[in-house]
């Protein structure tokens, strides 16, 4: 991570760290309907067991040379159209980061890691 993981906006006054962007992105992603939750990798799950609540769960922000990419690892609900949900997450995350932090996001990559079936009723066969 360049610039100590920090970020210089166009005013050259405010620094926003990647971690802060990740929290904004994580909260924005959870707001999109069709998202069941964020997917943590093994280490994330471990941190949660140890009692660290992590708002930036399932989000990776990388800013390098003024280019910011956000990677979001989600679990979607059963029955949703993944391309549509993914697009909504991308737009929502991008808008929230740009509004709240004033940082221009170059790419939001969505990684659909799983599908959540809870809340789907059993059927007769």
């Amino acid at each position: 991570m360049a610039d100590n993981g920090s970020y210089i906006t166009e005013n050259d006054e405010m620094l926003v760290t990647d971690e802060a962007l990740a929290v904004i992105a994580g909260m924005a992603a959870m707001e999109v309907s069709g998202v069941a939750g964020m997917s943590t990798g093994f280490t994330g799950g471990l941190a949660e067991v140890l009692g660290r609540t992590n708002l930036a769960k399932g989000v990776k922000v990388l800013s390098r040379d003024g280019v910011t990419t956000v990677d979001i690892y989600v679990i979607v609900k059963y029955g949703v159209r993944i391309p549509e949900v993914a697009f909504e997450i991308q737009e929502h995350v991008r808008a929230n980061i740009e509004n709240q932090a004033g940082v221009v996001v170059d790419a939001v990559n969505i990684h659909v890691q799983g599908v959540d079936f809870s809340g789907v009723k059993e059927e007769e066969n």
Binding site: V70, I82, P83, A86, Q90, N109, V112, G114, E123, N125
Partner: protein, 182 residues
């Protein structure tokens, strides 16, 4: 895993077994035995040009086999674990795991299915799904398969907008335990 690879692994296992047996025996065996063997090896193998070549070739073959196994081990990891589409805002990657869980969720909803496993492969923008099921008795397997194949194909296609080229169903067992689900 192809046949050739299996043969290589078998050869390797044998070599490893012999070596480990030798190591296990060596502390208890007669010192002279080892010494005699080393002397014999010294005389026959290292003092004659003919055997030099043989020993060198043997080592070379073993080295090549070693490298082959090492690299094939690395290659196996590079299975397509996700499928990727791009749009203006970035990439969307759908993992094989998520398609697997769609298929699994559908299979488990069925009353006649006791256990289900699923495996997904992405091949040129299409999805291949393999389901391994064990079912309860009194299941009409052809009906169940047809139903599941259609359900899975429809669900995966509508959710991911990818083309499902095939849904294979393997019935791995019929379980005698009566269906506990009501």
């Amino acid at each position: 895993m192809n046949f050739f690879f299996r043969v290589l692994t078998a050869i390797y296992a044998v070599i490893a077994a012999v070596l480990s047996a030798l190591v296990m025996i060596s502390p208890f065996s007669d010192k002279n035995l080892m010494k005699n063997f080393l002397d014999w090896a010294d005389v026959t193998l290292y003092r004659s040009d003919k055997y030099n070549v043989v020993v060198f070739l043997l080592g070379l073959v073993l080295l090549l086999v070693n490298l082959f196994i090492l690299f094939s081990g690395l290659r196996f990891k590079r299975v397509n674990k996700y499928i990727c589409f791009k749009n203006d805002s970035g990439q969307v990657r759908v993992s094989a795991n998520s398609v697997e869980s769609i298929a699994l969720g559908l299979a488990r909803k069925s009353r006649s299915v006791r256990e289900a496993k699923s495996k997904v492969r992405f091949k040129n923008e299409t999805v291949e799904i393999l389901m391994k099921l064990s079912v309860y008795p009194d299941t009409h397997v052809p009906n169940l398969s047809r139903l599941l194949q259609n359900q899975i194909k429809d669900a995966v296609e509508s959710m991911t907008e990818l083309h499902v080229s095939q849904v294979d169903i393997n019935i791995e067992g019929v379980h005698a335990a009566p269906a506990d689900k009501e």
